[in-house]
């Protein structure tokens, strides 16, 4: 792998350089496509879809709740894969991508929770109900917080990458376990209460298509954000390395 002679000793990995170069070119396109999809989907859903027979206009919240919930899960899965790649293959970009995705996933979880709670209020009469699905997302949010906090707490970047990687692995197992436990926990109390409000019911085409566009928009936004933030993390690491070099040289 050819590297410019100047700072080659500092770029102990060529991957990040290529990553930065590639994403630099991609970013404007990614942001644009994400924005277009998102705006199209939301405008379509908000302005051009009818009300639901049972839920009235609140069904429009589906265009935010479902995509954000999907991304909350997918973000964690991406972090899991990225952590595994780091633990096995030691690609720094992978570790930093996982780090970058954490806050994005956490915000997606918050959006899912907030829209879920707001949607639930007129339906259930309370601002919060310990519905199994909402509760699982609340637990997921706590996992996100722990993951982000651990990254922030450890000084050495490689140690932090390793520890957060293992945490992501173990956390994934327990997150799954929690999902099952929460279903068991609530179903035991509220037998037969139909609190399901998601797109598991057969959503008619007229709702479904704008929902797909919104989901695509959220996915693209996630990708754009993670690419961009990974670039930021790479730069942060490089700055730290340069600073260390400066201090050593001085």
């Amino acid at each position: 792998m050819t590297q410019p002679a100047m700072n080659s000793s500092l770029w102990s990995y060529a991957n990040p350089r290529k990553f930065l170069a590639t994403t630099e070119r991609l970013m404007p396109f990614l942001w644009t496509v994400a924005l277009i999809c998102l705006v199209t989907g939301l405008v379509w859903g908000f302005f051009f879809t009818p009300d639901d027979y049972r839920q009235g206009s609140t069904v429009k919240i589906i265009y935010l709740h479902v995509p954000s919930a999907l991304m909350a899960i997918n973000a964690w899965m991406m972090m899991l894969v990225a952590s595994l790649i780091w633990l096995v293959r030691r690609h720094h970009v992978s570790a930093l991508a996982a780090r970058a995705a954490g806050p994005v996933g956490a915000v997606m979880t918050v959006i899912a929770l907030v829209t879920g709670a707001i949607w639930g209020q007129p339906m259930w009469g309370t601002w919060w109900a310990w519905d199994p699905r909402l509760t699982s997302f609340l637990i997921l949010f706590l996992f996100y917080l722990g993951y982000i906090a651990l990254w922030e707490a450890i000084e050495d970047p490689d140690t932090a990458a390793d520890l957060t990687g293992v945490l992501c692995l173990v956390g994934s197992v327990f997150a799954l376990l929690s999902r099952y436990a929460v279903n068991f926990w609530n179903q035991g109390l509220h037998q037969g209460a139909s609190l399901s409000m998601d797109a598991e019911e057969n959503v008619a085409d007229v709702f479904y298509l704008p929902l797909l566009v919104c989901i695509a928009g959220f996915v693209l936004l996630f990708i754009a954000l993670v690419f961009y933030r990974t670039g930021t993390e790479i730069r942060a690491r490089r700055i730290r390395a340069l600073q260390a070099r400066e201090r050593a040289g001085a």
Binding site: M6, N7, L42, F46, F47, D51, G56, S57, T58, K60, I61, L64, H65, S68, P103, V104, V107, V110, I111, V114, T115, I118, W119, Q121, P122, L221, L225, Y228, R229, G231, T232, R235, A236, R238, I239, L242, Q243, R245, E246
Partner: protein, 52 residues
Amino acid sequence: MMPDLGKYADTVLSAYAASILLLAALVALSLWRGRRLRRDMQDMEQRMRRDG
């Protein structure tokens, strides 16, 4: 222009407002940090090239 949201107007609008706000804040903060670090790195690299 605005569809008739009926009695759920507050609900729907606050859900949309909260979500868009959160997304905008996330993007804004990411961009802000990104630009700042890009600038810092360029400064550092220039400085090192000068002194190195």
